[in-house]
Symmetry: C2
Subunit: 512 residues, 2 copies
C-alpha cells in the first residue's frame, strides 16, 4: 500500500463514500487509489466549484463529509466560493489536495503556490502530510475533526508521499464527538423573556429540523411568540404538517420593521441577525443587544435548549397547526410570483428544493407554505453559483428523492458545468432557471438608491441581455435536455412532464 | 465628487481605459462612477475568472494595466486562477474590490472574508483605502506600482468611502519607472560561454519581442548557439521574417535530453527552467547550475543585456534567415497534428494566437514556424481555463487584429462564460476547440507510468465522454455561432469562412 492508498483507505474507514474531483497530474496516485482501494466513488466535475458545491449539498443531506480531490493551489482556488458558502452552512467536508513533490516545491514550478493561504481564507484547518506512514492517523483526525466540528478539513498530500510505501496501520477510531451542550440558564432567561408580550424566536441550524420546529411550535403555542427563520438557511424541513415560520426579510428596512415589533427575540441555532450589506443609517444588527436572548449559539445544542425551554414553560405536547393551502396555478406571463407559485403548487412530496433563485425566489417561501413535506436549502454565504453543484450533491446523497434546483439565471451562469455531471451521473435533478435576464438585485439596489435611469455602464452591468443566454442550448451543450417557457401554464405543463420522468431536465422560465 | 468617482477618475488619469467587471451591491457607487466620470469602458463578464483573464490578455497586448472590478472576497476568489496565470505572465493589472462598509465588517455579514489573504496568495500588494480624500493618491500609487513592476495591484475600497465626499485632488504623476538594468559582467560571462562549442540560449519575457529575437538571432549567427524559448511564454512575436527558435519540451525527459547537449545555457528574460511537475529521479531544474549563465533575470533588462552581448561578440548586423514553409492542409480525420497544421496553414497575417490547446497544441509550435507574422500567447501558470478570457482581452486591446483562441476542450469548459462577453461586445475572436474529449494529459501521464488499462475511476477522471460536450450548443447558448467538424478539410473550410467575416465564431474540431 502506498501513501495515496492509505489516504483513501483511511477516508473510507472514516465513512467517506464519495469523492467529487477534478484531479491533475499530482493527484494521479490518489485517483488510482480510488480503484485499488474500493469503497469511495469518484465523480468528475468540470470545475472545482461544482465539486465543492456538491460536497456541500451531500453533507447538508447526509450530515456526513464528502471528499473533494483538487489539483494543487489553483484547483482549490477555483473551488473557494462554494467552500465559503459551505463554511457558512456549517457542514463537514474533507478536501484532499495533491501537492507537488516535497523536494520540488523550492524550485517554484509554475503551478506552485502557498495552499495554506487559501485554506486560511475560508477558515479550514489545513494539515500537510509529513510522512506516508502517518496517512491513516492524519486522515482519521482530519475527518473526525470535520465531522465533530461540522467544519472543512483540508489535507495536503505531496506527490512523493502519495507514492511512498505506507503500512496501512489502521487508525484507531477517533473518540466520538463530545455531545453539544447548551447553557441551562439561557433556557430560564428565554422563558422569562417569553412571559413578556410580543416576544419572537429566530431559528436557524438544527432548530430548523423537524424536531426543532416542533419544539419551537410548542413554545409558540404556549406563549404566542412569533417564529422566524434565517433569511438564508442551509437546510430547513418544511411543508406537510410541519409548523410554519416566517422568514426574516432580506432588505434591512423590512426586517427592522418586523423586529421592532418584538420586545425580545430568542435566538436558537443561529447568530444574531446581520444585514446582508451595510446601509448608511441602518444598524448592522437587526435586533438590538437588549432585545436578544441567545438561547443557543450555532455551535451549541439548539435542540436540547429548545427542549429545556419547552419544559421550563410547560409547553403543550399537542396542539392544532393550521395547514396552509397550496397556491393555485396562475395564468398568463411569468414573473417572480408566478414562477414561485407554479413550483410551490406542483412540487412533489418529499422533494429537495435547492433555492438559489434570489429575487425570482422571493415569493417562493410564502408560496410553498402549503406544499407537501420537503427539504429547503438556500445559498448560505452569498457567493453566487452554488445551486447547480449543491443540487447535484443532494441528488447523490438522496437518489430516491426528486431534486429541484430553483435557480436564477445570473447565479446559474456561474456554474453551468454542473449540468454535465448531472447528465453523466443521471442525477434526478430538475433545474428551473428563473430567467429575468439581469442581475436583478443590482436593479433593485439602484431603484432603492433613487436611480431610475442608470447610465450606460450601470445598465450594462445589471442586464444579461444582448445577447440573452439561451439556457436550452446551454443545457443541451452539457447533456441535459431542456425546454423554454414564458407562461405559467407552459411552465406547469413542462414541470409536470419533468416530474413524471427520472433524470436531469432543465426548464428555462423566461420572465417578462 | 465621491470616493468612487475619485477612484475612477484617478484610474483614468493613470491611463486605465477599460474595466472588466462583475460587480455587486458593494461596488454600485464604483459602477455609477464609470458613467459619471467618463473615460473608462465597463465590460461585464459572467464570471470573475473571465474578467481577470481578459485583463491579462489586454495587458499582454498593450503593456498597460486594465482594471478588474470584483465583488468582495468571493468575487476576487472566483478570479484567482487567472490572477495566478497573470502573475506568472508578469503583466500589470489593477483589481478594485468594493468592500463592505468599514463599520459593518465587525458584524461579519455573510459575504465577509479577509480579502488580503487572497491577494497574498497570488503575490499582489493589497491596499485598503482608509479615507476617501486619499483615493487619488492611493490609486495613482497602485497603478504606478503595477505598471513599474509589471505586477498586480489590488485596491480595497470600503462602501462608506465610496460614497463619502472626496475632493478630486489631482494625483501628482508618479515618477516614471526607473529603467530596468542589467549586469554588464553577465554579458561578458555570456560571451565567454558562447566561445565554447555547444552553447545554447533560453529566451523568455522581453527577449521574445521582435527586438529581443533579432538580437538573439544575431548572437546565434555569430556563435552557432542554439536558441530556445520557454515552454510556456506570455507573449512571443513569431512568423514572417522573424528568427525562429525551438521550444523547450514539456516533458522533462525530452527537455533534459536536449539540454544535456549544451555545454552552457545562457538565459535571458526568464528563470532557470523548472520541470512542470516533480518526477521521481528527475531533477527539478532542466539545466544545472554549472551550465547556467543568467544573462538577465525576469526583472532585469533583457533587451539591454542582449544588445550588450551582441556588441561584446561583435555579432553581425545582417545575415540570412531561412524562412520555414507553411504546412500543407492535411486530409482525413483530425488529430492533434492535423488540427495544428490546418490552423498554422490558414492563420492570417498579424493575427493574435491565444494557445491553451495543451496536448492538442503540441504540434502547433513547429507547424506555425512558417506562418505569417503573429503574436503567440500561451497559458502561463498552468491553471487551466485561461484561453477564453485572455483571448477576449486581447481582442479589446487590438480590435483591428483577428484573434484565434486555440483551445482544448477540457480547459475551455472551465471558462465558457467568456463566449457571452465575446458575443455582447462583437469581439473578433475565433474559438477553435480541439475536442479530444478527455483531459488527455492525464491519459498521457498514466501511459508514462505504464498504466495502459486504468480502472473505472481513473478512466472516468480523464475522459470527457458520456456525454460529450456539444460545443456548438454551448457556443449558441452564450450567443456565439458555431459549427462542428471532424475532418481536416472541413476544418479548413470552416476556418476560412470564419476568417472571412468579423465577430465571434466557434469551431469544434472533433478528434478521433
Amino acid at each position: 500500500m502506498n501513501g495515496a492508498e492509505a489516504v483513501i483507505a483511511a477516508a473510507r474507514d472514516q465513512g467517506i463514500e464519495i469523492c467529487f474531483a477534478n484531479p491533475g497530474t499530482t493527484e494521479m496516485p490518489l485517483v488510482l487509489a480510488l480503484d485499488s482501494v474500493p469503497g469511495v466513488r469518484g465523480v468528475l466535475c468540470l470545475h472545482e466549484n461544482v465539486a465543492t458545491g456538491a460536497a456541500d449539498g451531500y453533507a447538508r443531506m447526509t450530515g456526513k463529509p464528502a471528499m473533494c480531490l483538487l489539483h494543487l493551489g489553483p484547483g482549490l482556488a477555483n473551488g473557494l466560493t462554494n467552500l465559503h458558502n459551505a463554511r457558512r452552512a456549517g457542514v463537514p467536508m474533507l478536501n484532499v489536495i495533491g501537492e507537488h513533490a516535497s523536494w520540488h516545491i523550492a524550485a517554484d514550478p509554475l503551478l506552485n503556490s502557498e495552499i495554506e493561504r487559501l485554506t486560511a481564507w475560508f477558515g479550514s484547518k489545513a494539515v500537510r502530510l509529513g510522512a506516508a506512514l502517518d496517512a491513516g492517523r492524519v486522515v482519521g483526525e482530519a475527518v473526525s475533526a470535520a465531522r465533530n466540528n461540522r467544519a472543512i478539513a483540508t489535507l495536503i498530500v505531496p506527490h512523493d508521499l502519495q507514492i511512498a510505501k505506507s503500512d496501512a496501520a489502521p487508525f484507531e477510531q477517533a473518540t466520538a464527538a463530545p455531545p453539544r451542550t447548551f447553557r441551562a440558564q439561557k433556557a430560564g432567561q428565554a422563558a422569562q423573556a417569553l412571559r413578556t408580550s410580543g416576544a419572537a424566536m429566530l431559528l436557524g441550524g438544527d432548530a430548523l429540523t423537524e424536531r426543532g420546529l416542533r419544539l419551537a411550535a410548542r413554545i409558540a403555542a404556549a406563549t404566542g411568540a412569533e417564529l422566524y427563520c434565517d433569511t438564508f438557511f442551509a437546510r430547513m424541513e418544511r411543508g406537510g404538517d410541519l409548523p410554519r415560520v416566517k422568514k426574516l426579510p432580506y432588505f434591512p428596512d423590512a426586517a427592522l420593521e418586523l423586529m421592532k415589533r418584538h420586545t425580545r427575540v430568542i435566538i436558537a441555532g443561529t447568530r444574531r441577525p446581520v444585514t446582508f450589506f451595510g446601509y448608511p443609517g441602518v444598524p448592522s444588527h437587526l435586533v438590538t443587544d437588549a432585545q436578544t436572548v441567545m438561547l443557543a449559539e450555532p455551535g451549541e445544542d439548539a435542540l436540547g435548549a429548545l427542549a429545556a425551554l419547552a419544559d421550563e414553560i410547560a409547553a403543550p405536547e399537542a396542539f392544532d397547526i393550521a395547514r396552509a393551502a397550496r397556491p393555485a396555478v396562475p395564468k398568463g406571463p411569468l414573473d417572480a410570483a408566478a414562477v414561485s407559485a407554479v413550483i410551490a403548487c406542483l412540487q412533489p412530496d418529499n422533494c429537495i428544493m435547492m433555492d438559489e433563485a434570489l429575487t425570482v425566489g422571493v415569493p417562493y417561501f410564502e408560496a410553498s407554505q402549503g406544499a407537501p413535506r420537503f427539504t429547503h436549502m438556500m445559498l448560505t454565504g452569498g457567493a453566487i453559483g452554488q445551486g447547480p453543484g449543491t443540487a447535484a450533491g443532494a441528488a447523490f446523497a438522496c437518489p430516491d428523492r426528486k431534486v429541484i434546483n430553483f435557480q436564477s439565471d445570473g447565479c446559474g451562469a456561474y456554474s453551468v458545468q454542473a449540468l454535465w455531471t448531472e447528465a453523466r451521473e443521471h442525477l434526478d435533478v430538475i433545474t428551473i432557471i428563473g430567467a429575468n435576464r439581469s442581475y436583478n438585485i443590482l436593479n433593485v439596489e439602484l431603484a432603492r438608491a433613487g436611480i431610475t435611469k442608470p447610465g450606460r455602464n450601470a445598465r450594462n452591468m445589471a442586464m444579461l441581455d444582448a445577447p440573452y443566454l439561451d439556457w436550452v442550448r446551454i443545457g443541451e451543450g452539457f447533456g441535459v435536455p431542456g425546454v423554454s417557457v414564458d407562461t405559467a401554464g407552459a411552465l406547469a405543463r413542462e414541470l409536470e412532464k419533468a416530474l413524471a420522468s427520472k433524470g436531469p431536465r432543465l426548464i428555462e422560465a423566461v420572465m417578462t
